[in-house]
Symmetry: C2
Subunit: 371 residues, 2 copies
């Protein structure tokens, strides 16, 4: 499945913070075919550092999509049956308008003059794309981590436009600890002199060191204590005893340094700032804490999935969603999947997840046909 | 209890890595009085960023000691009864020889020419101090976190010189996740251009931004998800709605920034590098994984304490110690104390800990008299 990223342009989008972005572009990919009734479309929403390339093999780089183990013929999101769409989020750096995009008013990249955006803004732009594609009602919106926040926001903002949502390894609002980890990443980037107030595009000298450190922290939170022990333990890196210096001693150090430096090649530091901010602002209740209100008009079906070893988005956050949905007689299935992989489980430990998603989509599609 | 930090000098110390440090100085404080039999001495070992000022009020700064709630007349470590000693660790920056100390060979601060040290080296220097004070056998060595590693090392290296040890919220070897968090801190410091290969003393311009970010990560790991929720939640800082900018929005952001900048005033970045390295190298079994061997000659009594919400030094690591000690018929008491405070619990949630320590010291002292 060779795929190509497409692009859609819109004149403008009004943002939750009050600003208007003019114009706005969305990068997206599609897999499978839209049926005649336009009833088999599924929107996949990506996590923090993901992009529109969710599945298949990119025609240019040859790289597989980030959820290729879940999307494709015969897979959980079966492209023989469903029309699957994935778009890069607003504020991103992979084809959708973000801080690295040219500001038409100045002819220069926005940098920190880009307006602060929210999860709701990301979803609004996705809705514009779906409208453009002529889809009145999605069969499903599904995603993990920040993708799960978007799925929840879809159910809350556009319940009439989505038959079911699958929020995975996510939360209905960012906790103090989740905000804290994001703040560390932001401070690390902004502490790097090369960040230069967000203006590093012209001299092409991004805050590589600060961004790499931010990414290292991220990687720790994506794994579990146990998966790090299994993968690295105290194994030394290409040596038999300690170096008694500050070079690499342990495999885990080498892994983090590599992941940090690799990340700099593919991600924009300002997008890191804006997207983490959107996550931190995310609260489906707008600060009221009354989650039942967010789902008041819901006839959307929910499949909520969490993972036992995920300590970044712990299971109790998913269970809070499930508890409230049950209280308002929502149609909700929930599974806390056993996994050692921590938060990464939704990307790598997809066996049981596949079974759950496949069955849930199938039953939703049958209900849709009957309706 | 007004206290003053004292200092002891030694000609040299031979280090585990092969180097010899000449000369070496130790900063220490004492509280209470040594009895005639010299049998009531307790060594308190401090955590990563602690120092010799464990209790009382510093005569110069007026600041209370870092464990003043545990050490003093009538407290857990009762200074009416025991002679309590606390020294700053080797490699530290609070009076004991470390990378900021003058290298007599050059007349300049060691910086990164300071030799890499280990927990065993720290303990060796403590043993030299105890010998100097004329104490053949300590009643107890007690400490939390890295202090607990030192207590374990005492029991393993000098079992004849200590009647009991109290390792709290600690581990017998650093895990991949623990190494990973330390590595992030080190990379954050070394990414700061002001670190300058460790040579920042002469122009008095330390890597303040990198060190602050390292400290922020640390603070997240010291608290629990729950204690962060209770203390900060999603409370905004001096505003009623989001700023839609990159200033401070949340209380937790303000707290982390404040703690980060405050830390720079009192801690040396190179000491951060050396001490975290010592923690990461720490493995009581020297890589064999056979913990029973480390305790082979033990007739030392153990009181092992962990805290239910401590995810930085999780309870299972303490339980591994306890399990092995029981297998070799060691004299060990263990308690997993219920607390929401995370790793910080050993510093702040000291009610039950006080009862445990008091009773254990009392019974050990009675056994010592009977012996």
């Amino acid at each position: 499945m060779i795929v190509e990223t497409k692009s859609a342009q819109f004149d403008s989008i009004a943002l939750e913070g009050g600003a208007t972005l003019t114009p706005v572009e969305v990068a997206y990919e599609t897999y499978g075919a839209l049926n005649h009734e336009r009833s088999n479309a599924i929107l996949i929403t990506h996590a923090f550092t993901g992009d529109a390339h969710a599945a298949g093999v990119a025609h240019d780089s040859g790289k597989p999509g980030w959820w290729d183990n879940m999307i494709g013929p015969g897979k959980a999101f079966d492209t023989d049956r469903y029309f699957v769409i994935c778009s890069n989020v607003l504020g991103g750096c992979r084809g959708t308008t973000g801080p690295a995009s040219l500001n038409p008013a100045t002819g220069k990249p926005y940098g920190m003059s880009f307006p602060v955006i929210t999860i709701r803004d990301m979803v609004r732009l996705q809705k514009m794309l779906i409208d453009r594609l002529g889809i009145a009602r999605l069969l499903c919106v599904a995603g993990g981590s920040m993708g799960g926040m978007q799925a929840l926001e879809w159910a809350s903002s556009y319940p009439e436009a989505v038959r079911c949502v699958i929020p995975i390894a996510t939360t209905w609002r960012h906790s103090a600890q989740q905000i804290a980890f994001n703040e560390v990443g932001r401070q690390s980037i902004m502490a790097d002199p090369d960040w230069n107030g967000g203006e590093y595009y012209e001299n092409n000298k991004p805050p590589a060191r600060g961004l790499a450190v931010a990414r290292m922290v991220g990687h720790i939170t994506y794994m579990s204590d146990e998966s790090m022990r299994e993968k690295f333990g105290r194994k030394l890196r290409e040596k038999e005893k300690f170096g008694f210096d500050f070079g690499v001693d342990f495999e885990v150090e080498s892994y983090l340094r590599y992941r940090g430096s690799q990340f700099v090649e593919r991600f924009d530091a300002n997008s890191y700032l804006y997207i983490t901010k959107a996550e931190d602002y995310f609260d489906l209740t707008n600060g009221t804490g009354r989650l039942a209100d967010a789902f008041r008009t819901v006839d959307t079906r929910f499949l909520v999935i969490s993972f036992t070893s995920d300590w970044l988005y712990p299971s109790y956050q998913s269970q809070e969603i499930v508890r409230v949905l049950r209280r308002v007689n929502g149609d909700v299935a929930y599974c806390d999947l056993q996994s050692n992989y921590g938060h990464d489980a939704f990307l790598v430990d997809v066996g049981e997840q596949t079974e759950l998603v496949r069955g849930f989509l199938d039953s939703t599609a049958r209900i849709a046909v009957a309706a």
